[in-house]
Amino acid sequence: MLNIENLQATVADKPILKGLSLTVNAGEVHAIMGPNGAGKSTLGYTLGGRPGYEVTGGSVSFDGADLLALDPHERAAAGLFLGFQYPVEIPGVSNVQFLREALNAQRTARGEAPLSGGEFLKLAREKAGLLRMDMDMLKRPVNVGFSGGEKKRAEMVQMGILDPKLAILDETDSGLDIDALRICGEGINAIMRKPDRAVLLITHYQRLLDYVKPDFVHVLAGGRIVKSGGPELALQLEEQGYEAVAA
């Protein structure tokens, strides 16, 4: 589904990703772990197409298409979802309006019929329920006045509604209390643990992986994957630290 070859990227002319290669197949959950400054968030933003994250080498194919040739909204329509570490507040724009327009823009781009208001609300209610989020919150402006945990749950509701093929989740576990962590973890499983879906979890800690069991764990350090393994690698990292394991 996702094939990253020797990816190199700079931010403000500073090289951050220095030859990162990774393959994610349909049905798989991959966790990317690594110390601060390793390039984890840069990987997410580069795959999402954030302006200022410049690819200087390598290639990324997504479902056979050249991902790097697409604009951010085209990447979304192709089935990519980027869960933000710090979801952005958009005053004055309600979640419901934003998500309906976003979903229908994606559907139109894929040649599918847009959803009616009623169909959309039914879908939104179902996905909000999955994350135990009140529909009233979805009528409020995007992320405005949401607590850290509410923002992350709202991200997962967005993911449920947009129904991507691949979710790249950047520190979805940060800022969550224990209950919210479990709810988000279960949400990710319900939405994305399917044979034709895949997840790239970017995280510092093992704790989210207790709920969303990865098939593969990678250590990102110095802009590259320096070690890969199964779920046991995450436990080993938690026990011994990045320095000992990645050395």
Binding site: G48, G49, R50, P51, D71, P72, H73, R75, A76, A77, L82, F84, P87, V88, E89, I90, P91, G92, V93, Q97, F98, L99, E101, A102, L103, A105, Q106, A109, P141, Q158, L162
Partner: protein
């Protein structure tokens, strides 16, 4: 009645005016509105179309009177909306105004709010969206007369430059001759938040749609709570679509 001469740029209230366009409209006939003590009034003005226009409105509010004024300055030529409001004791005045311009248009909203007596409240929310080489101006004076204690005045002025070639002038001004008053003004000229735009696009909205959604929300702040909120918001959206 003597015809007053056409103003010049030396006249503060006309400093940024398109005088050539104004000459064709001069002299202006102010629309005068009196609201009797304890009464309420409301007015919405939508300036649109291809012709230059300039309007002057004078509102006098009696004791405990209230007035809700909404302005949409969104024609495709010179547009000037000037308002003078005098508030009696305990009166309330709310202004929500938006202006949207492009090309080499000049748009301006000029207000003078006079707190003549104690305990009156004024609120002004001004939002401008400017593209191309347009100039959008807000000149807003709040005067608190001697003895008008307990005055509570607020101005919130924000302009969004969609293109860096556009110009926004914003000048909130306070003239206070009384003690024990509360007057606040906030003023910002900026561009759309790049991270917000990326966030919306990352969910599938094409760049133009993402921009429109953010600007729509920005303008809507001027019309929140208006009796004709939906009509005004729809007219503003139509003007916005014409600009982008």
């Amino acid at each position: 009645m003597s015809v007053i001469d056409l103003p010049t740029h030396a006249d503060e209230a006309y400093r940024y005016a398109d005088l050539a366009a104004l000459a064709g409209l001069w002299p202006l006939q102010p629309q005068v509105i009196h609201v009797a003590a304890g009464e309420q009034g409301a007015l919405s003005i939508v300036a649109e179309g291809d012709a230059a226009q300039a309007r002057e409105i004078e509102i006098v509010l009696g004791a405990d009177a209230a007035f809700d004024l909404r302005l949409l300055n969104a024609g495709r030529a010179y547009g000037r909306l000037a308002v003078k409001v005098t508030l009696g004791r305990g009166a309330r005045f709310h202004l929500g105004a938006a202006q949207l311009g492009g090309g080499d248009q000049v748009l301006e909203i000029v207000t003078e709010v006079v707190h003549a007596e104690p305990d009156a409240v004024s609120r002004q929310v001004i939002r401008s969206v400017l593209t191309g080489h347009a100039t959008g101006t807000y000149l807003g004076k709040v005067r608190v007369d001697r003895g008008a204690v307990g005055t509570d005045g607020e101005q919130s002025v924000r302009a969004m430059l969609v293109d860096r070639t556009a110009t926004a002038n914003a000048r909130p001004e306070l003239e206070i001759y009384a003690d024990d008053v509360k007057c606040a003004h906030g003023c910002a000229v900026g561009e759309l938040d790049a991270m917000g735009l990326f966030y919306l696009q990352s969910r599938g909205l094409p760049p133009a749609e993402a921009k429109k959604l953010m600007l729509q929300a920005f303008i809507a702040e001027a019309f929140i709570g208006a009796g004709e909120e939906e009509t005004l918001t729809a007219a503003a959206l139509a003007a916005l679509e014409g600009l982008l």
